[in-house]
């Protein structure tokens, strides 16, 4: 058996915000992500999906359990575990090229070399002629592609994305999904993507992890056995969609009921 790229073992997370009662975001969560696998996390709002990504990234510690990447404990952030946010978060004071080269420059890679790598990466994501532009001269989709290039320039083993396309319009979004599948194949990295969109989950995932409402746990894991590309007119696509709609509706109802009690 191959070793998982990311292994999450019995992880819990309790937020303790100052002056407010603690929030149990995640409880007893276990999940393995295989090398090169595309995993989508789907769950009701507030169930701890973002929290989980932050912990895998090493930006936040766990309150229980451990997370391993390639067999080593995650204790601090690393460029091997790239994270992409809903907002591209490019630095507005750097050109697109220098944004993508930022990680390499922090490592002390000489200018010429890091720019060459960054330019290469930008060409791969289709931004070859945008290199000298400022981030706010780009459209939302282009900015998100640049953010992908920035993460990919570090040759990550795991690429995490937190609702990366949520702010984009429908057409751009579907283009970005194709684009993402392509860079996923090229890079060979594992992808862990959080989304609210059932269609996005079905279009992209090898496996969809459905979360329970807070405290988040794995409710079920559903492998998507459809060859890509996955046209939405396929009848099996609809079966998946009905199934996820039902699974989520249960959890959303529960989350609502709890809120009313509180």
């Amino acid at each position: 058996m191959t070793r998982p790229a990311v292994s999450i073992k019995n992880v819990a997370k309790t937020w303790t915000p100052e002056g407010r009662p603690p929030v149990h975001a995640l409880r007893n969560l276990s999940l393995d992500v295989m090398p090169g696998e595309f995993v989508v996390l789907l769950g009701p709002s507030g169930c701890g999906k973002s929290t989980l990504l932050y912990m895998i990234a090493g930006l936040e510690g766990t309150s229980g359990g451990v997370i391993e990447q390639d067999g080593a404990f995650v204790t601090e952030p690393s460029a091997e575990r790239g994270l992409i946010f809903q907002e591209a978060s490019l630095f507005p004071w750097l050109t697109i090229l220098d944004n993508v080269a930022f990680g390499l420059s922090v490592r002390g890679v000489p200018v010429a070399e890091r720019r060459a790598v960054a330019a290469d990466m930008l060409r791969k994501v289709g931004l070859g002629d945008m290199m000298e532009k400022k981030p706010d001269e780009l459209s939302g989709g282009m900015r998100q592609r640049a953010a992908c290039a920035r993460a990919l320039a570090m040759r990550p083993k795991v690429l995490m994305m937190d609702e990366p396309f949520a702010a984009l319009d429908v057409q751009t979004r579907s283009k970005m999904q194709d684009f993402l599948l392509q860079i996923w194949r090229d890079s060979g990295a594992s992808v862990i993507l959080v989304t609210h969109s059932i269609d996005e989950a079905i279009a992209l995932a090898d496996r969809v992890v459905v979360f329970t409402s807070r405290p988040g746990q794995v409710k079920t894991i559903v492998p998507i056995d459809l060859p890509r590309p996955r046209p939405s007119r396929d009848p099996r696509y609809h079966e998946y969609r009905d199934m996820f709609t039902e699974l989520l509706a249960d959890e959303v109802d529960r989350a609502f009921a709890e809120q009313e009690v509180v």
Binding site: A79, R81, S89, R107
Partner: protein, 300 residues
């Protein structure tokens, strides 16, 4: 700081000039801007001159521009070349004027630069070091609202008569504003910028110089610009009272000797200098902070 940097930016950024049809739009916008500027000043001057012509403005008290600009060589006689306390007007003409301007400007520049650099340094310490925050912040909040002019006696007690009290006053004018602005801005640096830096493996120093500082610099610069006019005001007061040279001293002397022409001539010079300073800062902002659109002060 509660001042809306955005509205001020639009005010000074000349964004009031609407969009124009193409054909070297930049140059045209420039020319139109200059045209309106001249029209505005022309109208102001014309009204003043008319008031004089119909006898409402007493030329002894409110001499119109053509009168106070008429006898320039005579007026220039009051400007001394020496930066000496109490130097009698030696009549050094143009060089005297230029040197007087130079003394005043260098005090402003030094005070601004010191206030900016130390303000950012102290603000950063307050933000990053809990101990410093607890010890300094209450005092800073207590001292910040005190008008810079109120510091004048203190400045003279401590530093005596000379350049230092004037520079000190300019420093005080910007220092507290920059400290508070730095603290506020450091708290509002987008968290994802810092996350990206951490994931990329940046050290704390790298993160500060290459992410945090560029993220807060545009707003700090805007704070500096907002306080520029106050800085000009205090330097003139300091010169009038405690230094004995510079444009402030000339105005004060002109007032004492009831020389209205000299008063207005100096006022005109001060006006032009203030304008040039703001323009200069805006230019630096445009070159150094190129990622900030003209009408926008903060980071995104």
């Amino acid at each position: 700081m509660s001042i809306s940097t955005k509205s001020v930016a639009t005010l000074f950024g000349g964004a009031g000039v609407g969009r124009l049809p193409s054909g070297s739009p930049k140059l045209r916008r420039h020319l139109v801007g200059i045209g309106w500027g001249m029209a505005s000043i022309g109208l102001f001057t014309a009204i003043w001159e008319i008031l004089w012509a119909i006898g409402w403005a007493n030329p002894l008290l409110l001499p119109p521009p053509h009168l106070f600009l008429q006898d320039i060589p005579g007026t220039l006689g009051y400007f001394s070349q020496k930066n000496i306390v109490g130097a009698k007007a030696a009549g050094n003409g143009v060089t005297g004027l230029l040197l007087t301007i130079l003394w005043t400007t260098s005090r402003v520049v030094l005070g601004l630069a010191l206030g900016f650099v130390l303000g950012v340094a102290v603000g950063a310490m307050v933000h990053y070091v809990r101990m410093v925050r607890n010890l300094l912040l209450p005092t800073i909040l207590l001292l910040a609202p005190i008008s810079p002019v109120a510091w004048l006696p203190v400045a003279i007690f401590v530093f005596g008569i000379g350049d230092v009290p004037a520079i000190f006053l300019v420093f005080i004018t910007v220092f507290f504003a920059i400290v508070l602005s730095t603290v506020a801005q450091l708290e509002s640096v987008p968290r994802n910028y810092l996350h990206v830096a951490r994931i990329m493996g940046a050290t704390e120093a790298q993160t500060f110089w290459r992410v945090t500082l560029p993220a807060i610099l545009p707003s700090l610069f805007m704070t500096l610009r907002l306080n520029l006019f106050a800085a000009w005001m205090v330097v003139l007061i300091a010169e009038a009272v405690g230094v004995g040279s510079g444009l402030g001293q000339i105005t004060s002397m002109a007032r004492a000797t009831f020389n209205a022409k000299l008063v207005f001539f100096t006022m005109a010079i001060i006006g032009v200098l203030g304008f040039l300073f703001d323009w200069g800062l805006r230019y630096i902002q445009g070159r150094m902070l190129w990622w900030v659109a003209p009408g926008q002060g903060g980071s995104k």
